[in-house]
């Protein structure tokens, strides 16, 4: 599994396309048979207590895309605050299991753990 993180609009899905996945293969915040899932943070915010079940299911994916939501002023709203933490903790656990972790900044991927499959690296270049 490759974990792709970054801010909103940082180019995470574009990066997944460069790995060879089409839009039709990407699930928008729902668990199904598609190889790629994005907006994992929304699933955590919707139901933080399901993070454990979510974790197991996400490990079976090829690519997991999650917005980084932990930065900025710590929210006064408790739900939002705990949601942000839960997203962060889930990402830490996913990163531990991932073959590669990619952090997107301005559309530029940085591989911060592991390495990408060779074909993917060629396509990125």
């Amino acid at each position: 599994m490759i974990l792709v993180v970054g801010g909103q609009g940082a180019g995470k899905r574009t990066f997944a396309r460069s790995l060879g996945y089409e839009d039709g293969e990407m699930a928008d915040a729902c668990l199904n048979d598609l190889p790629v899932i994005f907006h994992v943070e929304r699933m955590v915010f919707a139901c933080p207590e399901n993070a454990e079940a979510l974790y197991e299911a996400l490990l079976t994916k090829k690519v997991v895309i999650c917005n980084e939501v932990g930065s900025g002023v710590i929210p006064t709203d408790q739900e939002e605050r705990l949601g942000r933490e839960a997203v962060g903790r889930l990402c830490i656990r996913l990163a531990q299991q991932a073959d590669a972790v990619v952090r997107m900044v301005c559309g530029i991927p940085s591989v911060i753990k592991g390495s990408l499959p060779e074909t993917a690296e060629e396509e990125c270049l």
Binding site: G70, S71, G72, I74, R103, I112
Partner: protein, 174 residues
Amino acid sequence: MLILLTGGSGCGKSSYAEALCSKLPAPRYYIAAMRPLGEEGLRKIAAHREMRRGKGFETIERYTDLSSLKLPGRGTALLECICNLTANEMFDEEGAFEDPVRRVLDGVEALSAQCSHLIVVTNDVGSDGFAYEEGTAAYIRALGKINGQLARRADHVYEMVCGIPLVRKGALLV
């Protein structure tokens, strides 16, 4: 040696900092700047205490005026975190002091002089797109200045992402 750790909420700063400390010279001090307030705060403190258990930390609670803190011995200190310390200096009844930026920076300097290794944890509060009322806006600016100065002063600066330290200055120690 001064090491600065930054990153958003839930990115693994505390766990990494504690693991790092346990490989650095004893005695080890944990300087807690977070006031034990509310159920969530108490839960967080309990979780952090549990994480530190058996790692040989002596916990020292210090919410303001870090400059006058005297460590009992010379070793490794972990200061967590600059965001709480700054907020206390700015908004606490004990705080509300003039020039919180100077007070926090002087405090870190005084602490650093008393240990072989000081690890300082901060947070990236400036990275959201919201407009805040003046008090919060002043806090964001103060923390930004503090973080910038701490990074200049630090030997090593790491940004934590998904539990992975990204080297922004210096090098990884372990």
